[in-house]
Symmetry: C2
C-alpha cells in the first residue's frame, strides 16, 4: 500500500524524534534533562486551574468555532497592553499557535505557492507547510552575524510570482533574535512592494531582554491589512499543554475565510478555553518573576557555552532558546549518543539537533538548539553534561 | 490583497453558517431549538470531570504527541468490546474525529488525488478535503432508496488513477444509514481490487437501532492493512466540547507517518485527555440509557415528519440524524426564514440545510438534516415549529 508522497517527504520533528531514546534512557534509570523542547518548568497560574474547577457545565458541549467570547475578550484586553486595538471579530481562537500558523498559510497560499521564512526557523513551520502544500523559501541568516535579516535586495531576489507571504517569529525561535525597527521596516517594505502577507508569530513577545523594545507587526498601521498575528498562551503563561492560541488580524476577509477552517473542525477544547480566559487576570508580578528567571537562565547557559572549547554562539536577545555551533560533525549523532551512551553520574541531556530548523540542505548540521526552560541548578548540571560529553565524544 | 483560491472556494459549514441568525433571534428574545448540530443534551459522565478535578500538575506541560498512555490504553480497552485488538502504537490521539480524518487524508492522498465518499456525507468532509487539497468524488445515494450503496460496478466507474481512498461514516451522518454485511463486503472488494484505503468514520457506532448488528471495518482481518478507523468520544459520551478523537489502524506505516503530523502540532489538549481516559469506566447503564433515549427520540421525530404534508424520509437505522425532503424549493432559504421571520409563541428552530452535505451540484437543495439530540418535550415543540413553519411558508 502506497502512502502519500507529501507525508513520506515530511521530516520528523527534530524536537521530538529523539523521544524514544530518552524514554529508553529513563528506563535504564538515567535522569534526562530536557533542553530539547520549549516546555517551561514555571508553574501555570492558579487562575487557570481555578476557573476550570469552578466550571460545571453538565454537558461538555461544542462551543463557538471562533472561541468562547470570554477568551476573545481577554485576548483583546491583552493586546491593548501592546498598543493594539482589536475588535471581537478580529480574533479567532485556535488549537495553539500551531493551528493559527497552519490556517494562516492555507488562507493566504494555494498548493504550490511559496512562503519566505528566515532560517533557522521553528522547525514545525516545515510540518505546517507540508500539510498546506506550501513551499518554504528560506532567507538564510547565520549565528555568526547574530541572525540579522539580510538587506532588502537579498530578500527580493527570492521573490517569485508564487510568493504570497513572509512568515517569521519575533522574538525568534530557535535564534533568540529580536528584530530591530530597521529590520521590521525592511519586512514592511518588502510586503508592500511585492504584495505579501506578513504572518507574525509573536508567541515569545514577553521575553525580550537587555532593555530592548519589542515592536509588533500589529502596531504598524500602514500595513494592518496584510499582517496576521499568530499567538499562543503556551509560553507566556507556561501552559503548553492547554493548546490555546489565536489568529489576530485587522483584515476582515482573512478572519471571515479562516472562520471556515475553524468551523470545519468545530471548536477548540472547551475547558482549556475557560481556564485561558482568566489568564488576563494574572498579576504583573507573575510575569515579572518569570521574565527575571528566564533572563538569569539565559546568562547561565550562554556563559556555560562560552566556556566550552569550540562552541560558537551569540547572546540571544529574546525567547528562551540558544542555537549554538558545536565542535562536532553531526550534531544529531552527538545528541543521540548523549542519550544512548553517555551520562555524568547517571544524568544526561536531550537537545534538539538544529539541522531540521533550516530549509537549506546541509546548514545547521553542527548546531543544536538549547531551550533554557529548566531551573538554574538543573541547567548548571545539564550544561556540565554537554561539556563533559563533548570532551568524551571528541576523544 | 488576494486570498488563496482554495479558501475562497471552501463552503461555509451548513451546520454553523446560520449561527449569526440564531444569535440575532435569541437577542430578539426568541427561543431557538438547535436541531442543526449533533450536540447531545445528555449529561457528560461525572468520571470525566472528576478525573480533571483530581489532576493537579502544577505545570500544564506538553504531553506525548500520540496522546497520553492512559487514554491510548482506554481506547484499546474500548475496542476490545467490539472484537478489535489494537496495540499501543496502533492508536494516535487527535483533536476530535475532525483531525483524525484530516490526518488520514493527508497521509493517503497527495494534493489533487481523489477520495470516494458516499453522498450525502458529513459536510465537514468537504472542509478536510479542501484543507488537504483532495478532490471529493461522490458516490450518490438517495433518501428514496434508504441511502443504500450502489452496486460494485457503479462505484468502480468512479475510480481513476488518482483514487486513493474511500471515506465513509457508518452509521451514517447525515443519513442514519447502517451498512449491511453485504455493503461492507462490497466496499472491501472495491478496496482490494483497486488498492484503496478505507477511512472508516465510526463515531456513531453505539447508536444502531432496531436490533441491527454493527460491523466495523476494523473487524475484517483480510484488509486490516488498508483500514483506518477515525473515532471520537464526542457522541458516545456526550463530550463534544472535549475535542478528543483518535486514529486507529493496524497499518504501522500509516501510524508512523501520521505521527509526524501529530508531532508538528505538538499534542492534544491535556486536561481533556485526562478526563477522556476515565470514560472507559463509565457504566453500561449510562450507555444503555443514552441509547434508549435516542431511540425514543428517533421515533418521535420520524413520526412527526411522517405527519407533515409533502415531507419525505425513511426511518434512520443509526446515529442521531434524519435527512428529510421538505416541500420547499430551497431548504436553506426556508431555514433562514425560520430564524428571521417565524416563531410559534416566541419559539423557533434551527436546522441544517442539506445541500452542503452533497458534492453533486443541485442535490439536496430541498432537504434538511435534523439532529434528534434534544429531550423529548423539546423535540415535540421543535417539530411543531417546523410543521407550522412549512404551512406558513408555503402560503
Amino acid at each position: 500500500m502506497l502512502i502519500s508522497k507529501r507525508i513520506e517527504a515530511m521530516q520528523e520533528s527534530p524536537i521530538r524524534k529523539l523521544v524514544p531514546l530518552s524514554v529508553a534512557a529513563k528506563k535504564k534509570g538515567k535522569k534526562v534533562y530536557h533542553l530539547n523542547i520549549g516546555q517551561p518548568d514555571i508553574k501555570t497560574p492558579d487562575e487557570f486551574f481555578q476557573a476550570i474547577k469552578e466550571f460545571n457545565p453538565g454537558v461538555l458541549a461544542y462551543v463557538f468555532s471562533e472561541g468562547i467570547p470570554e477568551l476573545i475578550d481577554s485576548f483583546i484586553e491583552y493586546y491593548k497592553g501592546y498598543g493594539m486595538s482589536f475588535e471581537k471579530d478580529d480574533i479567532l481562537v485556535t488549537n495553539g499557535g500551531s493551528e493559527a500558523i497552519l490556517f494562516s498559510l492555507i488562507a493566504t497560499c494555494d498548493s504550490g505557492d511559496e512562503v519566505l521564512i528566515p532560517e533557522p526557523f521553528y522547525t514545525n513551520y516545515n510540518g505546517f507547510s507540508s500539510t498546506a502544500g506550501v513551499k518554504v523559501v528560506p532567507i538564510t541568516t547565520t549565528a555568526e552575524n547574530g541572525f540579522d535579516l539580510p538587506e532588502l535586495e537579498v530578500m527580493e531576489a527570492l521573490i517569485t510570482d508564487r510568493t504570497k507571504a513572509i512568515l517569521l517569529s519575533n522574538p525568534g525561535n530557535p535564534t533568540g533574535k529580536v528584530y530591530t525597527m530597521d529590520e521590521i521596516n525592511r519586512v514592511k517594505d518588502l510586503a508592500l512592494k511585492h504584495d505579501l502577507y506578513i504572518i507574525a508569530d509573536e508567541v515569545y513577545r514577553e521575553f525580550v531582554y537587555d532593555g530592548l523594545e519589542f515592536v509588533s507587526f500589529g502596531q504598524l498601521k500602514e500595513i494592518e491589512d496584510r499582517v496576521i498575528i499568530t499567538d499562543s498562551i503556551s509560553k507566556r503563561y507556561s501552559a503548553c499543554g492547554a493548546r490555546i492560541g489565536c489568529v489576530a488580524t485587522k483584515n476582515k476577509t482573512i478572519t471571515k475565510e479562516i472562520m471556515k477552517l475553524c468551523q470545519s473542525r468545530l471548536c477548540v477544547a472547551t475547558l482549556e478555553q475557560v481556564g485561558a480566559a482568566k489568564l488576563v487576570e494574572v498579576s504583573k508580578d507573575y510575569m515579572k518573576a518569570a521574565f527575571e528567571e528566564y533572563d538569569k537562565r539565559r546568562k547561565t547557559v550562554f556563559n556555560a557555552l562560552q566556556e566550552m572549547d569550540g562552541v560558537l554562539c551569540k547572546m540571544p536577545k529574546g525567547a528562551f532558546y540558544i542555537t549554538a555551533k558545536l565542535p562536532v560533525d553531526d550534531a544529531e549523532t552527538f545528541a543521540r549518543w548523549l542519550l544512548t551512551d553517555f551520562d555524568v553520574d547517571g544524568e544526561t541531556v536531550m537537545v534538539a539537533p538544529a539541522e531540521g530548523f533550516y530549509a537549506t540542505k546541509g546548514m545547521g548540521r553542527d548546531e543544536v538548539r538549547i531551550s533554557y526552560v529548566l531551573k538554574e541548578e538543573d541547567l548548571i548540571m545539564a550544561m556540565n553534561v554537554i561539556k563533559e560529553g563533548l570532551k568524551a565524544y571528541n576523544k
